[in-house]
């Protein structure tokens, strides 16, 4: 009887599979009927997750639908220039564009993007049964408007973590030398003082051992916005300065106008960060997010704040990294009280970055682009994508066996992201993101070169931000 029941269940399962599988498999070709041969063009920053979408998901989508995907993976600056100009001029060159979390508010303010929710409701035949917004992590909320409608399908999400050289931190000789010098155990830094101490120790250690080792990475490109981002998005929060130091209600940046961009805490944060340059490799002043990862992967720094999208390859890809199996992951060092603020939801300790693909209003192939966005948003493609780019946008991806396996090799980066992710936050919802960044950038650059002291730099940056916000009409 038991055997018979099993047979019935097997037959039922087979019948169910045979009836549903073709339906799912056929959805893409059915939905794409009439769109075969169409070419959709997209632009994104050249990052591991984007390159995976270009090299793996694009061809797979073409195979499933007959729609070709032309994918331009370029530099961050070019990606924005091209996408914004295309959408402003309404030229329709691109059918999908990369939307980083911090620029979505600018795009929404300008009504650049197609309302994906509304379009799918209008065209139910294009709605994939395997695309379900509820399966995404809460990161997807960044790409929704006030009504909850979706304007971008997340394709990457990660946190900027504190990476350290586990092999060095666990080396008995190193530990002993550290204890002898500072009277404390060597462990990942919990606060800025400890971090500086460790940086100083490893820089001296590198010098004395004749190796190319420094105490810390610093993302301090002295002519590139990457340095501004490290200051306002990664360092400021650890000192309790949120939203770039700009008051979200009055849009004031300086203390005099209700902001905190030139507050004592912000000045202390910038001074600490600039001070780290003395313990960083010489390439630090020309390092953006990519070079920071390369520096750490080359084994030239003992610790650093590194974007999570690079964590997996640094820890696992021995073709590109010399520190495979030697990487430790931890939360960034913070000032007292900051963790408590973050836990209570009143603050955050670091940057939760990521991006989505959206469809510009100017697109000439919106239907084909809608299918593409749903294709990349399916749960079934997420795990391998995560392995390639250490990015997670779906809750279920954390539990995938392959991702769990990689998690062990990356010292629990994914677990940290899952459990401590809520302590991190994306950029503030400012529609003037690029404009204010460009206003304050020259002063951060001058602080890096030593032309301005950190105090002066932030006083000038705050005044410039106030002036820019007034000029843009946001601050009355």
């Amino acid at each position: 009887m038991y055997h018979f029941k099993g047979l019935i269940a097997s037959a039922f399962a087979t019948a169910l599979l045979s009836s549903t599988t073709p339906a799912l498999a056929d959805f893409w070709s059915d939905a794409a009927k009439g769109l075969e041969g169409t070419t959709i063009r997209g632009i994104s920053e050249s990052t591991p997750p984007s390159n995976y979408a270009k090299d793996v998901l694009g061809p797979a989508f073409t195979k499933a639908t007959g729609i070709k995907v032309e994918f331009e993976a370029t530099s961050w600056d070019q990606m924005y220039d091209k996408a914004i100009k295309d959408m402003e001029a309404n030229t329709g060159i691109y059918d999908f564009v990369y939307i980083e979390q911090d620029i979505i508010y600018s795009y929404l303010a300008r009504n650049f993007l197609v309302d994906i929710t509304a379009d799918l409701n209008e065209s139910p035949n294009l709605k994939s049964p395997t695309f379900d917004i509820s399966k995404f992590t809460s990161f997807v909320d960044n790409f929704k408007n006030d009504k909850g409608n979706l304007f971008g399908v997340p394709m990457e999400a990660f946190i900027k973590v504190y990476l350290y050289r586990k092999d060095l931190f666990n080396d008995p000789k190193v530990k002993e030398a550290y204890k002898a010098k500072y009277g404390a155990d060597l462990a990942p830094a919990k606060d800025h003082k400890e971090y500086r101490q460790i940086a100083e120790f490893f820089t001296e250690w590198g010098k004395s051992s004749g190796g190319e080792l420094w105490g810390t990475t610093v993302q301090a490109a002295s002519g590139h916005p990457a340095s501004v981002y490290e200051v306002v998005e990664s360092v400021f929060p650890t000192y309790g300065i949120y939203n770039w130091g700009i008051d979200a209600k009055t849009y004031g940046a300086s203390v005099a106008n209700g902001g905190r961009l030139n507050s004592p805490e912000a000045k202390a944060a910038l001074a600490w960060w600039i001070g780290n340059l003395a313990y960083a490799p010489p390439e630090s002043t020309s390092s953006t997010w990519d070079e920071i990862a390369a520096t750490f992967a080359a084994g030239r720094a003992a610790q650093g704040l590194v974007y999570g999208e690079n964590a997996a390859w640094i820890a696992t890809d021995d073709k590109k990294s010399t520190v495979v199996g030697k990487v430790g992951v931890a939360l960034p060092p913070v000032e007292p009280g900051v963790i408590e603020q973050a836990t209570s939801g009143q603050g955050y300790i670091g940057y939760y970055d990521g991006g989505a693909f959206g469809i510009p209003h100017s697109s000439k192939n919106k239907k084909a682009a809608l299918l593409w966005l749903q294709y990349i948003g399916q749960e079934s493609v997420q795990a391998d994508w995560a392995l390639a780019g250490s990015r997670i946008t779906h809750n279920a991806t954390y539990d995938d066996p392959k991702v769990k396996e990689q998690d062990k090799k990356v010292d629990g980066y994914y677990t940290l992201m899952r459990e401590k992710g809520p302590l991190f936050r994306g950029a503030p919802p400012f529609p003037f993101h690029n404009q204010v960044r460009e206003a304050i950038a020259p002063f951060i650059y001058q602080a890096i070169t030593g032309e301005l002291k950190p105090d002066e730099a932030l006083d000038k940056a705050a005044a410039a931000a106030d002036a820019e916000l007034k000029n843009l009409g946001y601050r009355k």
Binding site: E283, T285, Q435, E438, A439, Q446, T449, G473
Partner: protein, 293 residues
């Protein structure tokens, strides 16, 4: 009348292209220069603001600094290129072993796109990893870091420009030197003039038109340099190499401040014209004036 119509017909395509790609964009920039237009402002619409942008420019420290920096860059680059180009042209006037090979190698930078020149120099000079900082440090103990030291960055951009464009000067002056009449030189030698006197009183005056044309071309190029420097330093460190072209690019593209950026472009164009006119007046008109006297 008929021949005149045919002439205009032949000229028409060129004039049309000039009008569409030269005059129309200029008029467009001229109009936008008198507006406030930032597509990410609270009010993203274009608003006529009269001469406000131009008034702002006069008090804009960053713009004025960029302008000063550009003039400094143009001065050092163009003077170095003319001097070096002249000596190289003189060298190529003589025969020496491997002359053909050296001339080809020397001309190669000219055919490289500016963005590739910037990338090459970036690879050469990237702190910590590039061969130039590495060997300067290893052999001379000199810390060369163009992303930290502003003077090093400035002079590296000058050297890069000199490396890229000196061959143009050399070729122009070589052509000019080749076409000089022999008689004045022979006569001067017979009269017992020394090398410097021949250079000062004969070569230089005869080369003046070619030098002047080259200076104009190179100066205008140097004043609008963007791509090479953008690739090499991105305008940094700090604002050390934020030349006017880069500054305008930052205002117009990342900041999307089209009105203000257009006003900057117009002022820069005006200053370039004035500078060229002053140079022309100083070097050519003065000579004509002397002749009239």
């Amino acid at each position: 009348m008929r021949s005149s119509s045919v002439g205009w017909l032949f000229l028409a395509p060129t004039l049309l292209i000039l009008f569409v790609f030269g005059v129309l964009p200029f008029l467009y920039v001229l109009v936008i220069g008198f507006t406030q237009w930032n597509s990410f402002a609270a009010d993203p619409e274009m608003r006529f603001t009269g001469a406000d942008n131009f008034r702002r420019l006069v008090f804009d420290d960053q713009f004025l600094y960029s302008l000063w920096l550009t003039l400094k860059f143009a001065f050092f680059a163009v003077v170095s290129e003319i001097v070096l180009g002249y000596f190289l042209a003189q060298a190529f006037m003589r025969d020496f072993p491997g002359k053909g090979f050296f001339r080809t190698i020397h001309t190669l930078p000219l055919v490289i796109a500016p963005i590739a020149v910037g990338a090459t120099w970036r690879l050469l000079t990237v702190p910590g990893l590039g061969p130039l900082p590495y060997y300067l440090n290893r052999w001379f103990g000199y810390e060369f870091n163009i992303s930290r030291y502003i003077d090093q960055a400035f002079f590296t951009t000058v050297v890069m420009d000199v490396w890229h464009w000196t061959p143009l000067v050399t070729l122009t002056l070589l052509a000019a030197l080749s076409s000089l009449p022999k008689e004045p030189f022979e006569q001067a030698q017979i009269d017992g003039a020394n090398r410097f006197q021949i250079f000062w009183h004969i070569t230089l005056p005869l080369l003046k038109p070619a030098i002047l044309a080259t200076v104009f071309i190179r100066m205008m190029d140097a004043l609008r340099t963007v791509d090479e420097v953008w690739m090499l330093t991105g305008g940094g460190p700090g604002a050390a190499t934020r030349y006017i072209g880069l500054h305008i690019w930052r205002v117009v593209f990342p900041k999307t401040d089209y009105g203000y950026g257009s006003a900057m472009s117009l002022i820069t164009l005006y200053l370039t014209i004035v500078l060229c006119w002053m140079l022309y007046a100083g070097l050519v008109a003065r000579r004509d004036l002397k002749r009239a006297d």
